[in-house]
């Protein structure tokens, strides 16, 4: 919402300056977004008088002047055609910046003669369009005073209007708010009623009073739409960014911004028969004044003549019955439309207009006749003509339901003491009709306020005017030790992130959306969770996995030349379209080398065991059973079939890990191997609470443990884990650790076989082992491993 200072002062009697007004607007909830004040650029410019004026000796159009700036006379060369002896104008001394050019003025030398400043045109000062000559001020203008004081400069104020304050989409509403806040008084609105000289020749019928409670029409004949819109109106419209089109259009635009009162003007000679306000028929055609064609539906309100819908009521006028410069007879519409109806139609057909913007918020339903009167007076004044009687369909008698305010409620809800008298003063100034009932005041909203329904709404009005900054700030009372802020589920997400970062991975945050084409292989459910209105085709699916976005991130980093990359994200993935059909996943990828070449040569390519280690670390950080998790080799198909696995608790999948399938990577244009893991945090059981956090008692043996090694030869397809578990199970009491320290294939081993060497730690319990006891334990291991895996001791 934009307006100029002079426009505001048409409605508000105030001595406040632009800065005071600006501060107050923001304070009362009409936030100032910008003040455009041309005066600010005119510092240094002063009034000056031409005291001698001769022709430049070397030019037939330049003048050589002596200009009195109030202190001294300066030599100035001037090319303006209207300069003459005695002209008082605006003088730019050397050193100022000319707004129009944005450059500092220096001492000029024009055709051999020095010039110490210049006299300016309106355009050069940025206060108008006139560039035909220099500004000529009245002869009695004092000399040497700042230009900003003499010129009629009208600053433009732009404020943000929240959806509840529709009446402030008109300057008068803004003025009323400022007056209620104590910054001046609201001037009375005086509108001259034009005497009607004939009855309206067009009949108007409203078929749907629910959508259109009041419709008024007035016929004005013999207007001259080629007349010039008055300068003051053009200037104001131009200041708020509206071009002058024709007097009829300018008047409707002006009232839209002056009183927040939308109007429409039909060319009455183009209308065919009488006017009916009705819902459109299904697929009824309408062409807007912008030339766009629409197929309406039965919930769109039309202003219709016998040829169909000529105006989409309250939203936009039609092309064929609008005014042109040749228009002579007009029908002026001023009406009330139901906000919901306007909002639906505007949204359905995606039409934006100043009219829709106001109607869907709130337009004073008791301002139809007033708006029509005001517009009629202005039209007759500018375009001449004669006005008919006004036709009013429906009754202009809106009255809002009373709302009660307990005086003490201001204190109990807003936390500030405001006296009863002040409460009454504020609400009255805002236009409320009040009945004092002792402890309570009953308030009936003015018709221009559609937003007051509850007691809290009235408290807000008081608080706005008193100033939020005057409410004391009181810390929240806390009478006990706060509870745990994060639940165990939330807290472990934090721990997992820090664990993965400690492991050298970089946390990223990517969209919850992804590209459905790239996500396809990662979908666990058949149906993608698609957005109905994605912002871009590559962000059209709620991601079924975190991995696609990590791979996109990897691709972009690889394109920038990274040789190694470790990224992770903890976030949601979606398996259904209903609320809560989502899970929290910690996923990561590792690509390339652990580091660039190093003099110690410890760099290596990331492999499956990095991803497995990451997954186990994340499970451990989430307090999960990482030691008991079973490793199975049934990861989904987007993993490499021979280099991937799952970590499970029975059927429950805690994580997948492995190398990603090369054909999946191809779609991302990634060459080389990528390791990945996904830990499904929701599947990790929470530790049982309540039983205390005491750790198991530490049992320390004074006897030294003994390490022994054994090497086995087994079939290649025997999983190493089987050998480890068999060895552990051989004697659970004494075998405390089993390690694999060598895996070997080929050499002199038979075809299809591999050698696995394990290290065992035996812990004596009562006394140290004898040689026989140790030998017995080793035999048990060899026997058990052989039984479970067909392994034989390597000779």
């Amino acid at each position: 919402m934009k307006f100029t200072l002079s426009w505001l002062k048409d409605h508000l009697d105030t001595n406040a300056n632009i800065d005071e007004i600006s501060a107050r607007l923001t304070q009362i909830g009409l936030e100032v977004e910008e003040i455009f004040n041309p005066a600010a650029a005119l510092e240094g410019f002063i009034t000056a008088k031409v005291e001698s004026c001769e022709m430049h000796p070397d030019s037939d159009h330049l003048h050589l002047l002596s200009v009195n700036n109030g202190k001294e006379n300066l030599q100035v060369v001037c090319g303006a055609p209207n300069v003459k002896l005695g002209t008082i104008g605006i003088f730019a001394p050397v050193g100022v910046v000319i707004p129009c050019y944005g450059e500092k003025l220096g001492v000029g030398k024009i055709r051999g003669i020095e010039s110490f400043g210049m006299l300016c045109s309106e355009k050069e000062l940025g206060i108008g369009d006139d560039h035909n000559g220099i500004i000529e001020l009245p002869a009695d203008t004092p000399i040497g005073i700042p230009a900003a004081e003499i010129l009629n400069i009208d600053p433009v104020i732009e404020i943000a209007i929240t959806p509840n304050r529709a009446e402030c989409l008109g300057v008068r509403g803004v003025a009323r708010d400022l007056a209620a806040s104590g910054l001046g008084t609201l001037k009375p609105l005086t509108i001259n009623k034009t005497p009607a000289s004939f009855p309206c020749p067009i009949k108007i019928e409203v078929k749907d009073f629910d959508a259109c409670p009041v419709y008024t029409g007035r016929y004005i004949k013999g207007v001259n739409n080629k007349a010039e819109t008055p300068k003051w109106m053009k200037d104001r419209l131009s200041a708020i960014g509206l071009h002058s089109i024709s007097p009829l259009v300018d008047v409707t635009n002006y009232l839209n911004y002056d009183l927040a009162r939308p109007l429409h003007v039909f060319d009455a000679d183009k209308l065919c028969g009488n006017l009916t306000i009705r819902m459109a028929e299904e697929n009824e055609a309408f062409t807007s004044l912008e030339g766009k064609e629409y197929q309406l539906d039965t919930q769109s309100l039309g202003i219709c003549d016998e040829e169909g819908v000529q105006c989409l009521g309250g939203v936009m006028g039609g092309l064929s019955k609008g005014c042109s410069e040749d228009t002579v007879n007009v029908l002026l519409e001023s009406a009330t439309f139901k906000p919901q109806c306007i909002a639906r139609t505007g949204r359905k057909f995606q039409i934006e207009s100043d009219s829709r913007y106001r109607y869907e918020r709130w337009v004073d339903p008791n301002s139809n006749i007033l708006g029509s009167d005001y517009a009629t007076a202005l039209i007759l004044e500018i375009c001449g003509g004669e006005a008919s009687e006004i036709v009013v369909c429906g009754e202009e008698n809106y009255k809002s339901a009373p709302v009660e305010l307990r005086y003490e409620r201001v204190k109990t809800l807003a936390g500030i003491d405001v006296s009863k008298d002040e409460i009454i003063r504020i609400l009255s100034a805002l236009g409320f009709n009040l009945t004092d009932k002792g402890e309570v005041v009953e308030a009936v909203s003015p018709s221009w306020r559609g937003d007051i329904e509850f007691e809290a709404d009235l408290v807000e009005e008081i608080v706005r005017m008193v100033g939020l900054d005057n409410i004391p700030a009181v810390s929240l009372p806390n009478d006990k030790l706060p509870k745990q802020t994060l639940s165990d589920t939330q807290s472990r997400v934090v721990t997992v992130k820090h664990e993965l970062a400690l492991r050298g991975m970089f946390e990223t945050v990517t969209w919850s959306f992804t590209d459905s084409k790239l996500a396809k292989p990662f979908r666990k459910e058949k149906e993608p969770v698609l957005l109905m209105n994605p912002i871009a085709s590559e962000l059209d699916e709620m991601r079924p996995s975190v991995l696609p976005n990590l791979l996109i991130g990897a691709r972009n980093n690889i394109a920038r030349g990274v040789s190694g990359l470790s990224l992770f994200e903890v976030g949601p993935e979606f398996y259904g379209r209903r609320p809560k059909e989502q899970g929290t996943v910690a996923a990561g990828i590792r690509y390339g080398m652990t580091s660039k070449k190093h003099w110690l040569g410890n760099e290596r390519a990331y492999d499956v065991f990095d991803a497995k280690a990451d997954a186990l670390a994340a499970i451990a950080a989430a307090n999960g059973p990482f030691e008991n998790a079973q490793v199975t080799t049934d990861a989904p198909e987007y993993y490499h079939p021979g280099r991937s696995g799952a970590l499970r608790l029975g059927k429950n999948v805690l994580a997948y890990f492995g190398e990603l399938h090369p054909s999946v990577l191809k779609a991302y244009d990634i060459k080389g191997r990528v390791m990945a893991f996904e830990v499904f945090l929701d599947n990790i059981p929470l530790p049982r609470g309540g039983a205390g956090k005491s750790k198991k008692k530490l049992e320390l043996s004074s006897l030294q443990a003994v390490d022994k090694d054994l090497a086995f030869v087994v079939n290649k397809d025997v999983p190493a884990i089987n050998i480890i578990s068999a060895a552990k199970n051989a004697d659970k009491e004494h075998i405390v650790d089993v390690r694999i320290f060598d895996v070997f294939e080929g050499g002199n081993l038979p075809e299809g076989k591999k050698s696995i060497a394990i290290g065992l730690t035996f812990q004596p319990k009562e006394k140290s082992f004898t040689d026989q006891e140790l030998e017995g334990l080793m035999k048990k291991v060899i026997l058990e491993v052989g039984k479970k895996t067909d392994a034989v001791l390597r000779q």
Binding site: R165, Q340, A473, E507, V509, V529, N556, L565
Partner: protein, 367 residues
């Protein structure tokens, strides 16, 4: 006896000129060994008369001790020499770089989450969560935004088709704010309530200051007496702690949100310079959050009697907080996974946030 002195000085001379441990040991053997010169003399003692035997024995023992001590000293000297020689040969260039150790980073969004949680935790808040895909009741209607509400149009909402209904009005939405968690909390919990709800939020908007996904933290306090003075106190305590500036300036402007009444926006004092922003100084203002007293319709929608209970709610952008506090210029870069950005703007893993140990930069150096 004279030749003993002579012998002594001869031996000591030999010891002192020994150049390595082997030569020294040879001397020891030649003097103190089984057939050494002193040992040989000792052997002759038995044949001497008693008195002379005592005197000579004593003298020989003194000599022997002196020689032993000299050998020990020399041995130590030579060993040190030898060790130094060995160590000199082991010299390596310690200016060479260390083994590569890669330390990861925590994303600024996670960091701010932890800071916000730490501060509100201190004030007795708990963290609540809700689904990213929401029904329209929780995202709009229950928050006093019926279907035709203008504010509902202002939020460019992403929709997801409802698998159980083909009616567009039943579509699910990808939540436009975390405010829906207010309702879910009220539905599941009796007052007094103090929660914050951080999370991902989504709107169909993409330019320098808007991304289709961003992060918000919603706050809700409901009891019988909490009023706007508490709202101001709570939020002031928050920004003071968060920006780690004791005398931070704030102001409040009346505003409008469908779910609060009265509603306000909070600005913090700052200095806006060329492409630079300093919080806590200057005379400019920067909008930081929206807040207000919970609207009676919202309490009712959450199953709470507005005649008995009241409270406040607020919402603040997590990404925006990160940009302001840590000087990150462009919102879009948050979500681009650029390793250089993550390394620069990310936080070291041990830089944890607490009110006892500090919110930021107390957790070790970056590598």
């Amino acid at each position: 006896m004279e030749n003993l002195e002579e012998l002594k000085s001869q031996i000591l001379q030999n010891i002192s000129s020994a150049t390595d441990l082997k030569a020294l040991d040879d001397i020891r053997v030649s003097v103190l060994g089984k057939k050494g010169s002193i040992t040989e003399k000792m052997k002759t003692l038995g044949a001497l008369p008693l008195e002379e035997k005592i005197a000579t024995g004593k003298a020989l023992n003194v000599l022997k001790s002196a020689i032993e001590a000299a050998i020990d000293d020399k041995k130590q000297e030579l060993e040190t020499l030898e060790l130094n020689q060995k160590l000199a040969n082991e010299r390596i260039d310690v200016t060479l770089p260390i083994r590569n150790e890669i330390q990861g980073r925590i994303h600024p969004v996670s960091k701010i989450y932890e800071e916000v949680v730490a501060i509100f935790g201190q004030m007795g808040f708990e963290v609540a969560e809700g689904p990213d895909i929401e029904d329209q009741f929780h995202n709009f209607n229950a928050l006093n935004m019926p279907a035709n509400h203008p504010a509902r149009q202002m939020q460019d909402t992403f929709y997801v088709a409802n698998p159980d209904s083909s009616d567009f009005d039943d579509s699910y939405v990808v939540r436009t704010h975390t405010s829906g968690i207010q309702i879910r909390t009220m539905e599941s919990k009796k007052p007094p309530i103090r929660i914050i709800a951080p999370g991902r939020t989504y709107r169909s908007d993409y330019d320098a200051t808007h991304t289709p996904m961003f992060h918000q933290v919603e706050g809700l306090v409901i009891d019988k007496t909490t009023n706007m003075a508490h709202l101001k106190g709570c939020l002031y305590d928050f920004v003071k702690a968060f920006f780690e500036i004791d005398d931070i300036k704030v102001r409040y402007r009346p505003s409008y949100f469908p779910f609060t009444e009265p509603s306000a926006e909070m600005d913090i004092g700052c200095k806006k310079g060329k492409g630079e922003l300093k919080i806590g100084e200057g005379d400019d203002w920067l909008e930081i959050l929206g807040c207000g007293m919970v609207h009676p319709n919202v309490l009712r929608a959450g199953g709470i009697d507005p005649d008995e209970y009241q409270g406040f709610a607020f919402g603040v952008g997590i990404d925006r907080l990160a940009m302001l506090k840590y000087g990150i210029p462009d919102l879009r870069t948050f979500f681009e996974s650029d390793l250089r950005w993550l390394k620069h703007y990310g936080f070291v893993p041990l830089d944890t946030s607490s009110m006892t140990g500090g919110l930021s930069n107390n957790g070790g150096l970056s590598r």
